[in-house]
């Protein structure tokens, strides 16, 4: 079918770079290094080609960005004003939805009860529904506490939308953590079982953010 694939010797790095460029260019959504590698001929070094390509696009009108585990080509943010015609009508999010999203992002994995605790009000019907529908939030592991509540985490689509490489790059995350504002402190005098949940939660939450 094609000569490059049948060839036993790997393509030159310059050619690998061209291939990765074409693959990323054709695809609207981010592709992981493994997905790219799977489409390259035998013997290619996808991470190296990606690194070179990223260098190549630095400072250009289109940039190679990292999104979670994936890579994608996106226009440079400072040129957004040129693309009035391409602008997508953004769904106006309610204050509750925005705050719920932020809480899930900064505290993930977060249960409904934790979101309600922080906001001081019940999470209204449809708020989480909307975030799921936008694809910005997904279900995480169930919390291993009584009732085994469902948890929510943010998705790669969320990272992609807000131009974040990973959840670690959320604005102000370090400061919030240093200030203890991402801890799960139980109310003084809370019952023992509740404290158990609390001590379990932050450790898992923080470590999961730093795992990869």
């Amino acid at each position: 079918m094609d000569s490059a694939r049948a060839d036993l010797t790997a393509p030159s790095l310059a050619d690998q770079e061209r291939m990765v460029e074409a693959i990323l260019f054709a695809c609207e959504h981010p592709l992981s290094s493994a997905e790219i590698a799977a489409r390259l001929p035998q013997g290619c070094d996808a991470p190296e080609a990606l690194a070179r390509l990223r260098q190549q696009y630095t400072g250009r009108g289109v940039n190679l960005v990292r999104v979670g585990d994936g890579y994608a080509l996106r226009t440079a943010p400072d040129l957004g004003w040129l693309m009035q015609a391409e602008r997508v009508e953004q769904r106006k999010l309610s204050r509750a939805a925005i705050e719920t999203l932020a809480i899930i992002a900064y505290h993930q994995p977060a249960t409904r009860a934790e979101i309600e605790e922080i906001r001081g009000v019940a999470v209204s019907r449809g708020t989480v529904d909307l975030l799921l529908e936008l694809g910005w939030v997904r279900l995480g592991r169930r919390r291993q506490t009584p009732g085994r509540p469902v948890t929510f985490v943010v998705t790669d689509a969320f990272l992609d939308h807000f131009g974040l490489e990973s959840a670690r790059d959320l604005p102000g995350l370090q400061e919030l953590r240093a200030a203890g504002l991402l801890d799960n402190r139980p109310m003084p005098g809370a019952t023992a079982s509740e404290e158990d949940d609390a001590t379990d939660a932050p450790v898992r939450g923080q470590s999961e953010l730093f795992e990869d």
């Binding site: 959504h29 509750a96 925005i98 992002a105």
Partner: protein, 260 residues
């Protein structure tokens, strides 16, 4: 002069709070708004003063006969308790957390809520896809191979399951009800019609409207109406007459029968 202006602004803000009581997203949101009047870092906020501000606010709202949701009143009760703990010397015989611990926790909760709001604002201020940066606009037109990918997301899956389970739980019940004319309904209808039925009338004329089209529904309505007429005859409120077997059944309200 600057002070004057400040106090005017403050009074305005206070009035706005009263009018806008429904605008708050719960007691914590209200507390956070009130705390701004102290004009200090949230870490140095006076919780005692804040508790007083909140209780004052609740009093004013009540004086203005503004309906307050239960959680506002629960918070008021808790803050009154906290206030007493903060003001009174600690009782050595009483265990549980000290007033200072509770106050510190409340201050921390407010700080955390404010921090999350700031974080949300910073998040939304970021460059966003489709607004500040863009994906490739032209789909690649390569017609080499075709693969069909089934599209279904988690929401579809959960909705499908929810649809199935709700149907299981509730639909048969709702379905049954819709085609059954209850005996109670027939009794009520007949009782209402009797005072104006002093002449013999065919039982079929007492069937409710909209129940004679489908056979199932007509049968159910007929059976219940018949049973109701027997019940009323037993109570002496109605006379029944039938000329021969399977002939139409006639009924008539009894004079004064409705009372006894």
């Amino acid at each position: 002069m600057n002070d004057d202006w400040d106090s005017v602004a403050e009074r305005r803000a206070a009035e706005a709070l009263i009018v806008d009581v429904d605008g708050f997203e719960g007691p914590l949101d209200l507390l956070l708004t009130l705390s701004r009047s102290q004009k200090v870092d949230l870490r140095r906020i006076s919780v005692l003063q804040l508790a007083e501000q909140y209780l004052h606010f609740i009093e004013q709202a009540r004086a203005l006969r503004i309906e307050l949701a239960a959680d506002y009143l629960v918070m008021a009760a808790w803050l009154a308790f906290l206030k007493s703990r903060l003001l009174l010397p600690p009782d050595p015989t009483e265990d549980g957390p000290s007033g200072e611990d509770l106050a510190a926790h409340l201050a921390w909760q407010l700080e955390r809520l404010q921090a999350m709001r700031d974080a949300a604002a910073r998040l939304m201020a970021r460059d966003q896809k489709g607004r500040d940066f863009f994906v490739r606009g032209q789909p690649e037109s390569v017609a080499v191979t075709r693969r069909t990918e089934m599209r279904a997301n988690l929401l579809d899956l959960m909705r499908a399951y929810a649809r199935l389970r709700t149907r299981d739980e509730f639909r048969p019940y709702a379905f049954d009800r819709s085609d059954i004319y209850a005996l109670e309904a027939a009794l009520e209808r007949l009782s209402q019609l009797l005072p104006v039925t002093r002449d013999w009338a065919d039982l079929a004329r007492f069937l409710p409207e909209g129940w004679d089209s489908a056979p199932d529904r007509r049968r159910s309505a007929k059976a219940s109406t018949f049973a109701a007429s027997l019940e009323l005859a037993k109570q002496g409120r109605v006379d029944l007459r039938q000329s021969e077997a399977f002939a139409p059944l006639h009924l008539r309200g009894r004079e004064g029968g409705a009372d006894g």
